[in-house]
Symmetry: C2
Subunit: 417 residues, 2 copies
């Protein structure tokens, strides 16, 4: 009961603040963002001291180096967070724009006005920079937000929240416009997910178990940012240097991210398969292949099992399958993929067009690395995440994904006959 | 278990058919639609005979005249269903269009291609014309559909399904592209709502209890078409004739639909309130007012209670409240409305602009009847329904709402640095 009233009161305040934020002009919202960036830099000693407490706890509890690296802040990282907010301030304002304005036969003029969603809830895990990114994207798009971070970064999150609150106060915006759930009790999450009268959208950012729990418990519409089992298909006609470059980039440059490839599909008649596999292996990639792949490089390639085709390794491991052509490649992607990002490397116009038209994933590419699937690279500015569902926002989700269109009608007394 | 395998096999077949439909050209999809229209007319005697069986059951079980009217088909209604399909065939094809194509600094070209959602599930109540409308909208947008109608129209639905299947066969489209759940067992619905690996979106069309059950049980994303508690606000400066025309149209022309108004808000300083109330009363509208409204016309206006402000009467009843101005009017709409359609009648430019910008509903109008909120009147052609949620599709939802955008990237070997 106490949990309910704590969460409900936070959400109600966020809802009221969202009406205030929605009425701000673009200049006022950008002024709030610039104040946030300024204060982040000015208060970096305080933020770093609080972050050090989280890092100490993580070290004492024996967390991995990768975990601590995600958690850790330093002056450079705070500088990058501030710059990211300033970049968002510079971005074009989507709010209030009227699209598709037309005069109908009845004489009414109908258009669609881009407006904020209202209150955005983000549930995230250990990276404290999510706090400032999401707060900035929400303010830019005229939304309030309710943020729930992990226990492991709670001191950093509270420190960032205080800095954000002070910036909002400086420019006269109610501090509930960026609300942090400061209590870390896990039982608060299901309560939060039932607040559909105050919250318009919930975005889970984290591992599969978090996402599944949110989908199951939420009465608020969810935008999933699910796993990335991404594919590259090297067609018969692929340029050999291009194939090596793209596959290395897609697997090796940053293997721990969702737009890195996990499976390589190679046309049976591609003449340079051996060279491609060797190039990957030389960069330290463990190859797990179908029997035909093993036959190409028996001393290097391990036999893959069925689970490998579903795996999101997030590591220097790559599943490899030889396929008879584009149809078999697309069937494999359909069956095992997660609908995230796929690339074909080909010199053949018809294959390129078929792959683009027929593969049912959030991003489909010809002769480019799937690593490009990113808000910055696609020109959206900062991203909320990469959605693997089809409704509302598919693929990289920027400021536009935090808005919706309402119909506006200008009449002069028309009635319907 | 048998239920599960029955539903799963239907959904799997629909999924496979969806891939076939997605690859059809615009001409092929339109040919299927024209075949459907032709066969509907040719087979009208068969359809009417099956419909007569449903009507007989409804009459014997003592259903209301309104219920039977919704269920009843005749030659004219079948003709209208066929014409509606032909209109959809003539409509512009959204599929395959690439929007927002841009060359990025890395040299890749990025655009967004409009593609079908995949499999659309619609759960509907007694109107058999929903069958043909939804089948046509889904085929036009390259989707397959799984339809589940009410028990009361099952013979009509099966007859329509047979006609549709024959038309699909005629043009070589797998009949599972339009799938009807022919068994009427209620326990099948929760099973259907868990088929998220085969179905991309579920749209409940019917009363509040149906919609709530779907939202609660579904693991598939839902587009709600909820109730319409719509408002008209007559501002101080409203033209008196225009106010009467719009309010009469909005309440009296067709009171049983979701875009009819349920509450009238009148500015305290509007000089013609009495005449407006009289005009409504003369057309047979029962008025339920706040104390100030009662004071204007004590013999005509009944005292409203709190429930009246939330009510969707769908009848010749109107709640009326006197308000101090636009802020009070907007607060009332925010608090009691369902976010469907609202209108202001005003001569004041600033009030018109504030109402359009600040009211958070799917359609907001100045000096026009909320009855215009409709796919046909807004230029979308036929509509799937009117969505009262913000994600994906808000307000009247046409063919576009059955599609999504995937990113397509044209490269020439670029990798990410």
């Amino acid at each position: 009961m106490e949990r309910n009233s704590y969460i409900e009161s936070l959400c109600k305040d966020a809802r009221n603040a969202s009406r205030f934020v929605a009425r701000l002009s673009s200049n006022e919202r950008n002024a709030a963002l610039r104040a946030m960036a300024r204060r982040l830099r000015a208060e970096s000693d305080y933020i770093l001291a609080e972050n050090a407490r989280d890092v100490a706890v993580a070290k004492n509890s024996g967390q991995t180096g990768a975990f601590i690296d995600r958690l850790l802040l330093d002056k450079d990282r705070i500088g990058a967070m501030a710059r990211s907010i300033e970049d968002i301030a510079l971005f074009e304002d989507p709010i209030g724009r009227i699209e598709n304005m037309r005069t109908m036969p009845s004489g009414i003029r109908v258009g669609q006005m881009r407006v904020p969603l209202g209150v955005v809830c983000v549930i995230f895990e250990s990276r404290p920079n999510v706090m400032t990114d999401i707060a900035a994207l929400c303010l830019k798009s005229g939304n309030a937000c309710v943020l729930r971070g992990g226990k492991e970064s709670i001191n950093s999150n509270i420190a960032l929240q205080r800095v954000i609150s002070a910036s909002l106060e400086e420019v006269g915006v109610p501090h509930a416009a960026v609300t942090l759930v400061e209590k870390t009790d896990r039982a608060l999450v299901p309560v939060l997910l039932k607040m559909n009268s105050y919250i318009d959208i919930v975005i889970p950012r984290g591992g599969e178990s978090l996402i599944q729990a949110v989908v199951k418990d939420s009465t608020i519409p969810v935008i999933k940012h699910d796993k990335g089992v991404c594919h590259a298909f090297v067609d018969r006609s692929a340029d050999p240097d291009m194939a090596v470059n793209i596959c290395l980039n897609a697997k090796v440059q940053r293997p721990g991210v969702c737009n890195a490839i996990e499976t390589l599909l190679v046309h049976r008649e591609y003449p340079h398969a051996r060279g491609l596999l060797l190039a990957l292996s030389e960069k330290g990639v463990e190859l797990r292949g179908c029997p035909e792949t093993v036959a190409i490089l028996p001393e290097t390639v391990i036999a893959a099992n069925e689970d490998d085709w579903y795996a999101e390794y997030l590591d220097l491991i790559l599943a490899v399958r030889i396929v008879g052509g584009i149809d078999e490649a697309m069937e494999h992607i359909q069956r095992y993929g997660s609908g995230h990002s796929e690339a074909i490397i080909t010199g053949d116009y018809a294959m390129a067009e078929r792959f683009l038209a027929e593969v049912d994933s959030a991003a489909v590419m010809v002769n480019a690395s799937p690593r490009f699937h990113d808000g910055g690279e696609f020109g959206l500015g900062a991203e909320v995440g990469i959605s693997t569902q089809k409704l509302h926002a598919r693929g990289t989700m920027g400021i536009g994904g935090l808005t919706c269109l309402k119909y506006v009608v200008y009449g002069s007394g028309q009635v319907r006959s």
